[in-house]
Structure formats: structure tokens, C-alpha cells
Amino acid sequence: MQQKSEKKATGPRRRRRRNRLRTCRTDERTMAQGGISGGKLFITAVYLVAMCRAVPVNDLLDRASQRSDKMHSLSTLLTQDMDSHFPPYGRMQMPRPADCHTSGLLTPNDKEQALQVSESDLMSLARSLLRGWVDPLAVLSTNAITLPHPAKSSISSKIQELQEHSKSLADGLDILSSKMGPAAQAISILPYTGGTDLGQDRVTILNKFNFLLSCLRRDSHKIDSFLKVLRCRAAKLQPELC
């Protein structure tokens, strides 16, 4: 496995040179779409321009992992907001998390399995999950406004923020995956079939909302874990981080 990973490590490097220019542009786009403030954008742009030909992967991974970390934190807060006013017993009637629309994606279940996954696969998994949540997030966002919940404003803002992070992370991962080879760029489609309408009654809506949020929490954690594993694998020069 290690040899395989080493092989794969050399591959992306060669391809990296070819895709350097594209990377630069996509990098800038990512940063622009990330919603960074004007100053940060400028600095980032300058940095990118200066380092366009030598943006280190580990640095990109670090940024991606930070964004994913933020996403997971937001989702955790969302569930907490939901639980503050949603009695726990109601959750028992909820569909189990195994019913998440992303459960079809095979992900490692323990550490050994996770560490054996190649970087490209890890990246692919992360990207697939991320892609799979674009639609549900939109549904959640629309339903959060009319959510019969006292903390719906907070929930709504968090969901919007989640959407932004998700988008910027997706762009960043696209750039990263382009440096990692075609295997990393393969995405599994995880369609969401829940529909835009969460339900008619309050309980249904809340239950469904809650369910979606729990699925989101797990998937965001997966993404974050995968990226952090990738980050530590790429940061051979910075052992202090890992």
C-alpha cells in the first residue's frame, strides 16, 4: 500500500506541471468564491500570483481541511440548536442515519480501513460526499426559513454559511483533485431523493429536518477526516503538524 501510494505520489507531480496554469486560475476562482473579505482576497490573489507555479499541495490541503472543519462545526451547532427545542424522544422515531441518501457510498469504518485508502480515493470520497450535499443543503436552506422552530433564524444563517463553505470547498477540492490524478477526480453521484418538501406537519418537518442535519453532520465529519488524513500524508515536510 505504501508503494502504491508512493507511486501515486509521483504521478500527480508530473501532471501538476501541466496543470499548473489551470491550477492557478482555479485557485484564484476558489478563493474568490470562498467569500473571503476584500483584503484577504487581495492578499490571497497576490500570493497566488506570486506562488502560482509552486502552490504546495499540502498548503492547499491545509486550507481545505480548515474549511471542512468549519463545516462540521457548523453542522454540529445546527444539531444542537435543533435539539434545544426538539425533544430527544422524538428522534427515536426518526429514520435511522443509515437511511441517509449518502449511505450508498462506501466509506471506511475504522481506522485501519481509513488509513489504507489511497489519497485519490480519499479525495474522491470527499468530493463525492460534498457534491451529494449540494441539493439537500438547498432544500434545508429553503425549509429553514419556514421551519416551525424557535431557533430557525440561527439555523437558517448557519445553513447558508454551510452552503458557502461547501461551495468553496468543492472548488478547492476540484483544484486539488486535478493535481492528484484522474482517480481523485472521479465522483460518485449521490442523488438526493427527498424532494424539496420536508412534510406537512410540524413534527414531520422537524423530524425530517433533524434527520437531514444528522446526516449532514456525519458526512461533514467524514469529509473533514479524509482531508485531514490527506493533509498529514502530504505534510511530510512539516511533521510538527501531524
Partner: protein, 623 residues
């Protein structure tokens, strides 16, 4: 007895995201021994499993090993308490391992006290808990450090991020600190604090404080020294900063006297006793010398610079005519004729005479200020037309001569020497002398000021006693010029003699206290030799000028000797002495005419025709 109570508080924790442990709190046991069993069910499966390990984690716990642990899987855990009466199920709990991560505290916490240039700081370093796999990135830990002084209760918490070392500054000198570290996974629970590490910071004196101490000591030292120095030189410093104002001091005036307010004393003190000088010690005032002025071409006596005389003068033929009135070479007439062309002749004769005179002129001391006076006079000779020449002559001893010089007489134009003697021949301003010699011209208010004068007779030549101090006396017009001359007593005789001997001299015998100059006519001897000798010797030195500006002429011893040689002269001398040529030589200032006035009466008596003829004065037959 009852069935056991429901176990509660099931909480599970995973230290490394690989295993986890659940604890529960058992309820009442119902009085019967109760056993607890934990059952769990994974999501997506209905299979129920029982806790594999009840012992590892202690009592009322269940430890899930790696084999049975799955992540991203919900565990539905239920604890069942069972006793003989029955069993009680606890509430199920859903657990996802990834959400319950609580690592162990960091290990190997090392705190170093680093002495960095008197500013010590703590260096804390640690290691992640062994079980947490941070190398692979499975777990990402962030750390936190806290410290407190051993005596205090409040901890200061500092976030260290993902680093495994930390520096703490701003420590208290000599303090003892307790340091602890804990960690937390990115999405998990904080670990427990590591065991406290105690460290002592050594005592240190802030360099800043020691420097300030040095500065203060130094400044105090300098202050002391400066104060001491000022104290030692207090007076000079005070004198420098506040210089004393000079008080008024007038010699002879006593300030206290002024303050006393006695006017008599003040005024008396103002009046200097010895001013103006009242002593008749003429010698003390001999600061000026008379310069006898010879009319026009006449040179004047010089100082004992005989050279001038010798050079310049030769015996001349007197050109005086035989006219009695003019026999004495009345300067007055000369003056009148000055404008005319006769003058030239007269001048010539004068020149000649002067030269001769020079030899016989009484020796006078001449001061350089004569020249000055002369030059002054020269400057003030605008009126006289032909003064130019005379003016020029002034500076030079015998300068006038050249202008007139027609005679072969060597005109000892020796400017150098001449300068010494101002032949202010042009200056018939010998105001002073003329006053008494010639007609007492009322216009001649100016007394002659004679620094030295010579009584010399010359028929044709009038000796102008040129006061040296006539500088500021404006030259008068010709008419005003009074040539004073002393006619030789024995003019008649001299007339003839003059032809032979051009000059006749009057010897100043002495000056009486009444400011009368007693002239002692030098009797001309028929013999030239005698005269010559006389000429050469007949100098009277002005001894002093008395307070009334009278001249005191010294009598030459030589003159007396000469007299002896010439018996005839002696006779004359004796006669002369009897009568004496009286003249008051009063060098007067511009305004003082006292001398003249005093002289005038005398002259008036004698002068009949308006000019003084010594011959008449002395009763000598006049020609």
C-alpha cells in the same frame, strides 16, 4: 425486594477514536444482587451484541475494543440491570464514536526556565497522549497550557494550537509556577489536565532598575560636586552673573561728602586747588616753545639744529633802507609792502637777513609743535595772496626762501629741518609779539603767542615773532598782520652796521614776573667778528612759559661771554640792561588780550609813531 433500578447516565468515551468505553450508573439494586449487562446494536442491523468487556474499564463500564468499534456508525446502547426480581432496561443511548472522543492528557510535560539576559521565561514542551494517533492525521489535537503561581488560585490559560511547545514570558522574579497542559481533538472533548509541573523562577533584578539606580547615584554625586563648587566660588559667580555697577568716582570728590549735602564742602572739593595752576614755577610749564617767526622769507630759529642755520643762512646784505622809520625793518612796513613787489626785495633782504639772523638768532628750543602750529597757520592763510609761498615755507624750515630766493643765498630749503621750525613768515600773525613790537595795532588783539621767540633786529627784516600757538588764530590780513620785531636798539648805528651785518638782535635778558620780557639788545660790534660771534651766540633759550604765558628766556652764558668780548657791546648792554627791552611776551589765546594790554601801555609810552622801535625805547638815537 424489587427489581433493580434503571441504570442511568450512560456515557461513553473514546480516547483515540478507535475504542470506546461506556459507563453507566446503576440504580438501586432492589436489595438483591444485581447484574448489569450492556447491549448494543449497530445501526442498520438488528443484531444485538453484549458488551465484550466489563472489566477493563472498571465497574459499571463496558469497554469496546477495536474489533467491535466502528466509526461513523451509531451504536444503540442499552444497559440492563438484572436481579432476581427482574431486570430493568435503561434508556437507550445513541453513540457515534467519532463524536465522543476525549483524549488522554498530554504526556511528558517538560517546563524549562530559560535565563535570557536577565529576563527569564518558561519553555513548556509536551507530547501527545500515546494512544492518540496524530501522526497519520487520524486525530488532530489542539493543546492548551495553563499556569499559576503556587500561592494563587487563578489559572492563566494559554492556547497553544497544534504546537507541542510553548513559551511563557513576564514571570515574577523568584516565583514558583505550576504548569499544566491539556489537549482536545478537533471535534471532541477536552482532555484532563496533565499533572502539574512545578518550576521556580530565579530571582532577578530588572536591568532597568539597576540602571536607574546608577543614574540616580551619579546625578546626586554630580549635584553635590556642583553645589560645592558654587559654594566655593560663590563670590566670583555672583560677580560674573551680577556685575557690580560702578559707582561714580571723581577724583577729589568724596561721595560721602556729596551725600552729606554740605554744599560748601562740595564746591570746595570740586574746585581743584591746583587748577588752574597758580604757581609761578615756570619751569613746570615749559611745555611750549616759542617760535620766533621771521617774516616771510625769514626763517625762524630752529632748535639747536644749527645745521639749518648754518646751511641756510649767510650773511646777507640787509636791504633795509636807511629810513629811520623803516630802519628797523619794521615788520609793520614790511607787512604793508608785502603785497607789493617791493616785498620781494624786502624779502630778499629779509632772506638774507634771515639767514644772517639765523646765525645770530637766539637759540631757542623749538618744538615740533611749532611745525604743527605752523601748519595750522598755513592752513589758515587764505588771505595773504602771496601766502602760498609762505605757506609752503612753513613746513620747511626755510621754505619761504625759495620762493623769494633771488639771492644767492642758499636757501636751505630743508624741509626736514624746516619743519621743525615753522617759518610762519607768511604768518605775520605773530600776533603776540607784534603786539608789542610794532604799533600796538588794535586789531592785533591777539597776543602773540610765542613759544619761543627771538629778538632779532633787522632793519629790513622784521622778525616776526611767530607764536606757535597761532594755529587757530586766523591769519589776519596783511594789514592786520603785525610783525613784531624788535628793533635793534642801536638801530641807527646798526643801520650802517646792518649793511655790514644784516641782523641785529635783541637779546632777551629775562622775563620778569610781570610778564615782561627784558630784552637785552645785543650791541652790534663794529667788528663783524664780534657780531658774528654774537650772531652765533645770541640765542636765548626760552626757559619756560609762565602761567600767564610769559616767556622766560634763558640767558646764555655764552652771550655774556660774547659781551665781554665786545666792550662796546657791553656798553650797550649795560645801557640796554638798564632800560631793557621791555616787552611783555604774552602768548595769548585768541581772546586773551590781557597780556597785550599790559604790554600795550608800555609800548605806548615808548612807541610814538606807532611802531615800536627799540631804539626809541631805549632812547637810542633813531635814524
Amino acid at each position: 425486594y424489587s427489581p433493580p433500578g434503571k441504570p442511568t447516565n450512560i456515557n461513553c468515551r473514546s480516547p483515540e477514536k478507535e475504542t470506546f468505553t461506556c459507563w453507566w450508573q446503576p440504580g438501586s439494586d432492589g436489595g438483591l444482587p444485581t447484574t448489569y449487562a450492556l447491549y448494543y446494536r449497530k445501526e442498520g442491523s438488528e443484531k444485538v451484541f453484549e458488551c465484550p468487556d466489563y472489566k477493563t474499564a472498571g465497574k459499571n463500564s463496558c469497554f469496546f475494543s477495536k474489533n467491535v468499534t466502528s466509526i461513523w456508525v451509531n451504536y444503540n446502547i442499552t444497559v440492563v440491570a438484572t436481579n432476581s426480581m427482574g431486570s430493568t432496561f435503561s434508556n437507550p443511548v445513541d453513540v457515534d464514536v467519532v463524536y465522543i472522543v476525549k483524549p488522554n492528557p498530554p504526556e511528558e510535560v517538560i517546563v524549562n526556565v530559560t535565563e535570557d539576559k536577565d529576563w527569564p521565561f518558561l519553555q513548556v514542551s509536551w507530547k501527545p497522549p500515546k494512544m492518540a494517533d496524530t501522526r497519520s492525521g487520524w486525530i488532530t489535537l489542539i493543546y492548551e497550557v495553563r499556569l499559576k503561581l503556587e500561592n494563587e488560585n487563578k489559572w492563566e490559560e494559554l492556547s497553544a494550537g497544534q504546537r507541542k511547545n510553548f513559551k511563557i514570558y513576564s514571570l515574577r522574579s523568584g516565583g514558583t509556577y505550576d504548569v499544566q497542559v491539556r489537549c482536545k481533538p478537533d471535534h471532541g472533548f477536552w482532555s484532563e489536565w496533565s499533572p502539574s509541573t512545578r518550576v521556580k523562577v530565579s530571582e532577578y533584578l530588572p536591568r532597568e532598575r539597576s540602571m536607574w539606580i546608577l543614574i540616580v547615584v551619579f546625578a546626586v554625586f554630580i549635584l553635590f560636586i556642583s553645589i560645592w563648587m558654587i559654594y566655593m566660588n560663590f563670590h566670583s559667580v555672583k560677580h560674573y552673573l551680577l556685575p557690580p555697577v560702578p559707582g561714580p568716582k571723581i577724583k577729589g570728590i568724596d561721595k560721602q561728602l556729596l551725600k552729606s549735602g554740605k554744599s560748601e564742602d562740595i564746591f570746595s572739593s570740586l574746585v581743584v586747588s591746583n587748577f588752574p595752576p597758580t604757581t609761578s614755577n615756570y619751569e613746570d610749564f615749559l611745555v611750549q616753545y616759542l617760535e620766533v617767526y621771521i617774516p616771510e622769507e625769514r626763517e625762524l630759529i630752529m632748535d639747536e639744529g644749527k645745521d639749518l642755520q648754518d646751511d641756510g643762512f649767510k650773511t646777507e646784505n640787509s636791504t633795509c633802507d636807511n629810513d629811520s622809520g623803516r630802519g628797523s625793518c619794521d615788520s609793520h612796513t614790511l607787512l604793508i609792502d608785502k603785497g607789493g613787489g617791493d616785498k620781494e626785495d624786502g624779502q630778499q633782504s629779509d632772506q638774507e637777513g634771515s639767514q644772517a639772523e639765523a646765525d645770530t638768532k637766539s637759540h631757542e628750543e623749538a618744538l615740533e609743535d611749532e611745525l604743527l602750529a605752523c601748519s595750522h597757520e598755513n592752513a589758515q592763510i587764505p588771505n595773504i595772496s602771496n601766502e602760498k609761498e609762505k605757506v609752503k615755507s612753513c613746513p620747511s624750515l626755510f621754505s619761504p626762501l625759495p620762493q623769494y630766493s633771488l639771492s644767492p643765498v642758499n636757501q636751505p630749503n630743508k624741509p626736514k629741518t624746516g619743519k621743525q621750525h615753522c617759518l610762519s613768515d607768511s604768518l605775520f600773525t605773530p600776533n603776540s609779539l607784534s603786539s608789542y613790537f610794532t604799533q600796538p595795532d588794535p586789531s592785533n588783539t591777539k597776543g602773540f603767542r610765542s613759544n619761543y621767540w627771538e629778538c632779532s633786529l633787522d632793519h629790513k627784516q622784521s622778525h616776526l615773532f611767530h607764536p606757535q600757538r597761532a594755529a587757530h588764530e586766523a591769519l589776519q590780513a596783511q594789514n592786520d598782520l603785525n610783525a613784531a620785531y624788535v628793533d635793534y636798539m642801536e638801530a641807527p648805528m646798526d643801520v650802517h652796521a646792518l649793511n655790514v651785518r644784516p641782523t641785529e638782535y635783541v637779546e632777551v635778558q629775562r622775563v620778569s614776573d610781570e610778564d615782561v620780557v627784558l630784552l637785552h639788545p645785543v650791541p652790534p660790534s663794529h667788528e663783524n667778528s664780534c657780531n658774528v660771534s654774537h650772531q652765533t651766540e645770541d640765542y636765548s633759550r626760552v626757559r619756560m612759559v609762565n602761567n600767564n604765558n610769559g616767556l622766560l628766556l634763558l640767558q646764555r652764558d655764552a652771550i655774556e661771554e660774547e659781551k665781554n668780548m665786545c666792550p662796546y657791546e657791553e656798553e650797550m648792554v649795560s645801557r640796554a640792561t638798564s632800560t631793557g627791552c621791555r616787552a611783555s611776551i604774552t602768548p595769548t589765546l585768541q581772546n586773551s588780550a590781557t597780556g597785550i594790554n599790559t604790554a600795550l601801555p608800555i609800548l605806548d609810552e615808548m612807541a610814538g609813531s606807532g611802531y615800536v622801535d627799540t631804539a626809541t625805547m631805549f632812547g637810542l638815537p633813531t635814524y
